[in-house]
Symmetry: C2
Amino acid sequence: MTMCQRCNYPRLFRSKGVTPTPNRLMLMELVGDSPAPLSPQKIYETLNRTHRLNRVTVYRILDLLVEKNLLERLSSGDRSFRYGLAPNANHRPHPHFFCRRCGAMECLASDSLDLDTRALERRYPGAIEKVEVRVDGICGNCVGAKGKMG
Amino acid sequence: MTMCQRCNYPRLFRSKGVTPTPNRLMLMELVGDSPAPLSPQKIYETLNRTHRLNRVTVYRILDLLVEKNLLERLSSGDRSFRYGLAPNANHRPHPHFFCRRCGAMECLASDSLDLDTRALERRYPGAIEKVEVRVDGICGNCVGAKGKMG
DNA sequence: ACTTCCATGCAAATAAGTTGCATACTGTCC
DNA sequence: GGACAGTATGCAACTTATTTGCATGGAAGT
């Protein structure tokens, strides 16, 4: 749902003035292929399994890609941020669900919530850059695990 | 806008099984009177100016009051949470604005965004407990300060 | 090769929040 | 009115997420 079907990342990176290093491409592919936004920790662990790299490098790449608007940083219900593909032409902004039981975050369909921001955009005296919608609760898996399906 | 016009907090606390200690009441009044949600750090500094108390106590009271549904915990665009009055009969849920320049968070009118969650509630397989909407950008003050008004 | 720039690593620092344990307070029972 | 049980608070130490400073290493141009 979130995934970007095999964009040409090296080209995309260059178009934004980002040198397409192996680490950056790996990270971008990992996040791009993930059905849900990922924490830096998770990204670090996953990448590090196959290609040794430093935790700090992960943070630096994330900052860079967010700044270049290739990734977006989402706040979760816990203490760490999550990162997903930034919205673009092929990838609509969408809300996310955070499960307070298992800590997993998932993407919701972009039309699952109907949000009209026009009134606010007209009246708000500052500059609006993004609207983040997060739904909190217990996810389907966790509800099932605890609940009726013994 | 956020403020609860002088609720009877001791009574409210007891009704939820929360012992109304001086620290807890002070904290609740501070948050209740604030026009915007506050960080633990800010709460600590403010309370500590007049009545010595420990930072840990602040965290513990916040956890307790969130658990009892008297306060709500909001994620901001930065690394700390913010706390405000929990929505209730006199206090509608509302979105918040986070300014990435000055770090301030403000409450927006509860009708400033039109959000329809019914479709999601019908279809989502888990349990939805709350929906958090945060608008990010540059607030009115900061836009003005940097911009036209030299 | 020589320089320049930037990507990465490594160690240490910081910030926010949490835990363990000791002391002090609240309200209840004799 | 003191002993008791159960919290509430303080204090120090810890953990986790993230950031910074500084040094090395490698690619690209000259």
